[in-house]
């Protein structure tokens, strides 16, 4: 046990403590009561001024933003929703059914001039005569007048004229802040998106993962810059629109396709062939170019020799849809002529499935069905996050893919290895 020596404290006794307490409380009361009026302290005006200034500074950008929003909104009001009626335009293959979304529009677009609308090919899902729901709510039939394969932009002729003033366009530059219009007409809201990079007539966007194909992108002055293609990219409006108008003036012909995927020949092949040409790496087995097979070397289109990939593609696009054309190919050392009937390139335009992380390298529908052991008349809805489209599978690809298909009204899901 420890003994503690307790020192006598300075303040002892109840009376002392009570006295002290009363005295202190009195001091506090007196002090509080005798406080001088909270008169303007020196420098009060100077203190308030910077606060007011700071507030004004804070509010200035807000005012600016509101102005921009209103200007951008004018542009957004010209946007429209697309409804694609598949029934009227038969697609290339019966199995190439689009993913139907009755509740949402297939895509969007924007009225650029009195009776012209601009949208992207992937929004049409192969339809050449979509219907357009305008800002006013009225539904108007439309017809494709021109198609730019490079950018994917499509010029529509609207049956019902809607807007008198033409929408002005501007060239986008990397780093531009653009406003993407969500929703149509008066209900359109704007969300900011950045232009990350420009490559030819395509722009890659940052901050735009879920843009519906054809969503118009405006700059802060309400000028049209581009239209989203649905896969984090957009098609540049500014130089393309003029080209589309010229194309539309020239005639009703739309760029064609043969459902082929072409590639530049490698060095060895080029050395053997002498002049350069294009090598077929994939041919849609149900497509117009099904008589060609992978490995064929394309030497001529429509009777004219082609030496460059670009040239071959341009010539194929220039073929008239529905009219038979001749191709010159080299197959296994022999040169032979092949007859093909091209279809409009638009028929192949497909929409990436939103929110599913679209992938570029997926299967074709027939292969997917075969791999999933489903009969050929089943309809493929989705291959690994992407609607079935005319893109070649990457050679040597062995990862598992997810195939969703519809057969007699029922949906099947299968994981397949291509």
């Amino acid at each position: 046990m420890t003994l503690t020596f307790v020192e006598p404290k300075l303040l002892r006794g109840l009376r002392t403590k009570l006295g002290l307490l009363v005295a202190c409380l009195a001091i506090l009361l007196l002090g509080a009561l005798s406080r001088p009026p909270a008169a303007p302290r020196p420098g009060a005006a100077e203190k308030v001024a910077p606060i007011l200034e700071a507030r004004a500074e804070r509010e200035e950008p807000l005012r600016l933003l509101e102005g921009l929003r209103q200007r951008g909104q004018r542009g957004a009001a010209a946007s429209f929703a697309l409804q694609v009626s598949r029934a009227r335009t038969p697609l290339v293959g019966a199995d190439y059914g689009p993913v139907t979304r009755p509740q949402a529009p297939a895509g969007r677009g924007v009225v650029v001039e009195d009776s012209f609308g601009l949208t992207v090919a992937s929004a049409l899902e192969g339809s050449l005569e979509p219907r357009v729901t305008l800002a006013s709510g009225s539904v108007s039939p439309a017809r494709v007048r021109a198609h730019d394969v490079d950018s994917g932009l499509v010029l529509l002729l609207l049956a019902a004229p809607s807007m008198s003033a033409p929408l002005s366009t501007r060239r986008a530059a990397p780093g531009d802040l653009v406003l993407a219009a969500f929703g149509e007409g008066e209900h359109a809201t704007l969300r900011p998106v950045f232009v990350a990079a420009i490559d030819g007539r395509r722009v890659s966007l940052s901050g735009a993962s879920a843009l519906v194909p054809g969503t118009p992108l405006f700059d802060l002055d309400g000028k049209l810059l581009a239209l989203a293609t649905g896969d984090r990219e957009a098609a540049l409006a500014a130089p393309t629109l003029e080209a589309l108008k010229t194309q539309a003036d020239a005639g009703p012909a739309l760029p064609s396709t043969l459902g082929l995927s072409l590639q530049e020949p490698d060095e060895g092949l080029r050395a053997r062939l002498g002049a350069g040409a294009a090598v077929v790496v994939y041919s849609d087995p149900e497509g117009p170019g099904k008589s060609l097979t992978a490995g064929d070397v394309l030497l001529g289109v429509g009777g004219q020799r082609v030496v460059l990939l670009d040239e071959a593609q341009r010539r194929i696009a220039g073929l008239e849809a529905g009219r038979e054309a001749r191709l010159t190919v080299r197959r296994g050392g022999r040169e032979l002529e092949v007859r093909v009937t091209p279809v409009p390139a638009l028929a192949y335009a497909r929409q990436p499935v939103r929110g599913a992380g679209a992938r570029a390298d997926t299967l074709f529908a027939p292969e997917a069905l075969a791999a999933a052991a489903l009969p050929g008349h089943a309809r493929v809805l989705l291959i690994e996050g992407r609607a079935p489209g005319p893109r070649p599978p990457r050679p040597g690809r062995s990862a598992w893919l997810l195939v969703e298909a519809e057969l007699q009204g029922e949906r099947f899901l299968a994981a397949v290895r291509p």
Binding site: E7, L10, C24, G31, P36, A39, P40, R41, E46
Partner: protein
């Protein structure tokens, strides 16, 4: 980062810093401060300015507890032994720093208001940092006794002087109000922050006294002590009093009325470490490292003159005193640190004298950084050299000075 996350991060980083400082043989406080700097907005910005603002109350609470514990050293019987000497030293060292800094800045042709305010801020010695180093090394001895008393008195003198200088500047740099009203306002401000704050501390202290006998368990004692300190700090803020004075007075009252004071302090001691660690990490995070570049001639003069003033003041005050040689030699070194109070005064300058705020803030905050880093190291040096550090293992190159 949200506040809860940042508090957790602060505690763990502080713990880590504690381990590292033990290896490096530097005071924990320095480690906390460095960690604070590292995770604060100056460096990695894990703790943002926003976090610092919301966590500011933690610092206030910790400072309240620290001053409470310093105040509780003011027991009458103990104070009589060192008190008079401490008052004398405090007066000398504060005036030394004040006069040298004032003259130096005036010679560098700074405005009178700026020179006066900086000179007052120069007088301050950090209570928290010093107490923390004393605790860490379990310091005991004549130097430690004097140091504790000295710092409390130093802080009171600083607050009084700041009140006086504020009154002076308000009176003579006023905005054309009636002289009488201005004078009254200045006087009332001075009395209210001093006498009023002490009165509040005493009232709260008496409350503790009447309750402490019933709060016997250490948990209860902790709740009582914590609650009273929080109320004192909060009430001071609400009433426009000085939390510093009030908590000091609270500690002193408890020490002089109640036999349970030491029990309360012990109970608080169990709760303190995380709070103190957070306090210093936050203090470190608030240090603006980039400000050192802007120190300039005035800043350098301020730093040098403050140190010289304090050392010389302490030396002169102790010249004829009957004190051990270690005290004479090393007390001055323990007075170099500077921290929260100086920052607090700077903030007050910013709101009360906006025209002088920019130069005062620039110099004072940069200097706080220098002193906050150097102070604990110097205090540790003094404690080790004087042989009052108990827990510090002593390598032979640091043998206590045998001069006594």
């Amino acid at each position: 980062m949200n506040e809860i996350l940042s508090v957790g991060l602060i505690l763990l980083c502080a713990l880590l810093a504690g381990h590292v400082t033990q290896l490096l043989r530097i005071p924990e406080v320095t480690g906390y401060l460095l960690v604070g700097v590292a995770i604060g907005p100056s460096a990695f910005d894990l703790i943002s300015h926003e976090n610092l603002r919301t966590l500011g109350f933690l610092s206030e609470v910790a400072l309240g507890l620290i001053l409470f514990s310093i105040g509780s050293n003011f027991e009458a019987a103990r104070f009589r032994a060192v008190g008079r000497g401490a008052v004398r030293v405090a007066l000398y060292e504060t005036s030394g720093a004040f006069l040298l800094v004032l003259l130096g800045l005036l010679l560098l042709s700074r405005p009178l208001a700026v020179a006066l305010l900086l000179a007052v801020i120069a007088m301050e010695t950090a209570p928290a940092t010093t107490l923390m180093v004393l605790h860490e090394y379990d310091a005991k001895g004549p130097l430690t006794d004097r140091l504790l008393a000295l710092i409390a008195i130093n802080n009171m003198i600083v607050l009084l002087a700041f009140g006086g200088i504020s009154a002076f500047l308000t009176l003579f740099g006023g905005a054309g109000e009636e002289l009488l009203l201005q004078g009254y306002r200045a006087l009332h401000g001075l009395l209210w922050t001093t006498v009023g704050s002490v009165a509040l501390g005493i009232v709260m202290g008496l409350l503790v006294d009447s309750w402490a006998a019933r709060a016997k368990e250490s948990g209860e004692a902790m709740m009582l002590a914590m609650g009273v300190v929080l109320i004192t700090v909060g009430a001071s803020r609400a009433l426009g009093l000085s939390p510093l004075f009030a908590t000091l007075a609270l500690g002193a009252t408890v020490a002089n009325t109640s036999h349970h004071g030491s029990g309360l302090l012990k109970a608080l001691g169990q709760a303190d470490p995380p709070l103190y660690a957070a306090f210093f990490v936050l203090a470190g995070a608030e240090l603006q490292f980039e400000s050192v570049g802007a120190l300039g001639v005035a800043g350098l003069a301020y730093v040098v003159l403050r140190v010289v003033g304090k050392l010389a003041g302490a030396r002169i005050a102790l010249r004829d005193e009957d004190v051990p040689e270690t005290v004479r030699r090393y007390l001055g070194l323990c007075l170099v640190s500077s921290s929260s109070l100086a920052v607090g005064l700077t903030i007050q300058v910013r709101s009360s004298f906006p025209e002088a705020a920019a130069p005062v803030t620039a110099v004072a905050l940069a200097a706080v950084l220098v002193f906050e880093m150097a102070g604990p190291l110097l205090t540790r040096l003094a404690l080790v050299r004087s042989g009052e550090a108990q827990t510090e293992p002593r390598p032979f190159e640091e043998l206590p000075d045998q001069a006594t």
